[in-house]
Structure formats: structure tokens, C-alpha cells
């Protein structure tokens, strides 16, 4: 269970920092980079 928690925390930390980058809007249907 500690391993599962470590995996979950890594998703949260990376996800929060990545979300601050100006990626295209996920609600748009724009294709490709």
C-alpha cells in the first residue's frame, strides 16, 4: 500500500506542475502538436 501511495503522490505532484504550463486546451479538438 505504501508503494501505491508513492505512485499516487507522484501523479499528483507531476500533474500539478505540468498543469501550470501553457499546453493547448484539452477541450479543443485541435489535432497534433
Amino acid at each position: 500500500m505504501a508503494f501505491v501511495l508513492a505512485v499516487f503522490l507522484s501523479v499528483v505532484v507531476i500533474g500539478v506542475i505540468d498543469a501550470g504550463l501553457p499546453w493547448p486546451n484539452p477541450k479543443s479538438a485541435k489535432v497534433g502538436p
Binding site: 508503494f3 508513492a6 507531476i14 505540468d18 501550470g20 504550463l21 501553457p22 486546451n25 489535432v31 502538436p33
Partner: protein, 196 residues
């Protein structure tokens, strides 16, 4: 194989930039997320392979619903449908494909324990190429996925930020660095079983 799935998610992010990385990471381990409650309910089980010590890659996983071919497809479709409603049809399709990619990557490493039909109905042959019989090779594949994924993600993240915005460039570097560090850390924890 958790780290390898994360590396794959980071690599996909570099091509599908509109899909949030956290959603890609969650999607790539979603079959395992669904597995956890079924494991706790003793519906799906894990046993050590005969003659092994229960370490990295030495388990036979009877995840007959979440990791059956048809079960994985069904879970992927449901995940993708919800994502399509929340974001866009394309993002939903991408996330459904990523959920199912878990089954394909697991097929490479699992010993032949992955059924075709949920509950192994019909006792059809179980699938799995068994790279886990060679733990160092399996770990090397996972490490390669993390390294390539982190590099592709870093390159895509750099391309999204303006060179005149050092704050965003630092954030992009930090994000890619964490993909690499957490990916390798998860692999080390998985390989050594330090946390059990």
C-alpha cells in the same frame, strides 16, 4: 510495470499536447487502479511464481477481470467515454487508447497469466510473453521507457513555453525532471520492494 507505463504516458504527452499529463498518467495505470479494490476483495489475486521469492517480476497475477483482453477493452472504453464528455472526443479516444496500452505493455512482461475473456470464461489460453522471467531485462525496458518519455516530454514542454519567459521555462524543466526522477524512483521501489 508501473514506471514503464508512466514513461509511455510522458512520451504520448509530447504528441498529444492537449491531453493533461495527469490524465495520461492516470489512464496508463487505470487497469491497476481498478485492480486494487478487486484485489482487496480477493476477487483478483497475486501469487508468487513457483521457485521464486516474490520479488520484482516473480508474481503470477490473476487479474482475470481487469487484465483480461476484453475486460481491459471495456474499461478503456468507459474511461474514454467519460473523458470525451469532460474534454473532447479526441481526448477521450486518446485516453481510451492509453488505458488499453497498459494491457499491451503488460502482455510483454507478464508470465502467461492474462486471460482473453473476463473471469477466464471458456478456459482459453492465458497470454503473456514473460519478460519478467528476466527481471534485469524487464527493468531495463522500463528504465528506457522512462528515459525516452522524460526526454520527449521535456522537448515538448520547452516548445510550448516562450523563450522570453524564464519562469515557465524553469517550470517546464522541473516538470520533465520530476517525470524522470519519480519514474526512476518508482522503478527502484518496485524492483527492490523496499516499501513492500
Amino acid at each position: 510495470m508501473i514506471a514503464g507505463h508512466f514513461g509511455f504516458a510522458a512520451a504520448i504527452k509530447s504528441f498529444e499536447r492537449q491531453t493533461p499529463l495527469w490524465a495520461l498518467m492516470l489512464a496508463c495505470v487505470w487497469l491497476d487502479v481498478v485492480f486494487v479494490p478487486l484485489f482487496l476483495a480477493h476477487i483478483e489475486t497475486i501469487r508468487s511464481a513457483p521457485g521464486t521469492d516474490g520479488g520484482y517480476g516473480t508474481t503470477i497475477i490473476y487479474a482475470d477481470y481487469t487484465h483480461s483482453l476484453c475486460g481491459a477493452l471495456a474499461i478503456a472504453i468507459v474511461f474514454g467515454a467519460i473523458a470525451a464528455i469532460w474534454w473532447s472526443r479526441r481526448t477521450g479516444f486518446v485516453l481510451a487508447a492509453i488505458v488499453f496500452s497498459h494491457w499491451l505493455l503488460d502482455l510483454l512482461v507478464h508470465r502467461a497469466d492474462m486471460p482473453i475473456l473476463p473471469g477466464n470464461v471458456g478456459n482459453l489460453p492465458r497470454l503473456g510473453f514473460g519478460l519478467w522471467r528476466y527481471p534485469v531485462a524487464a527493468a531495463a525496458v522500463e528504465a528506457a521507457l522512462v528515459l525516452v518519455g522524460a526526454f520527449l516530454y521535456w522537448r515538448a514542454a520547452q516548445a510550448t513555453v516562450s523563450s522570453e519567459n524564464p519562469s515557465l521555462r524553469r517550470r517546464a524543466n522541473l516538470s520533465a525532471f520530476l517525470v524522470l526522477v519519480f519514474g526512476i524512483a518508482v522503478l527502484v521501489l518496485d524492483f527492490t520492494r523496499i516499501l513492500g
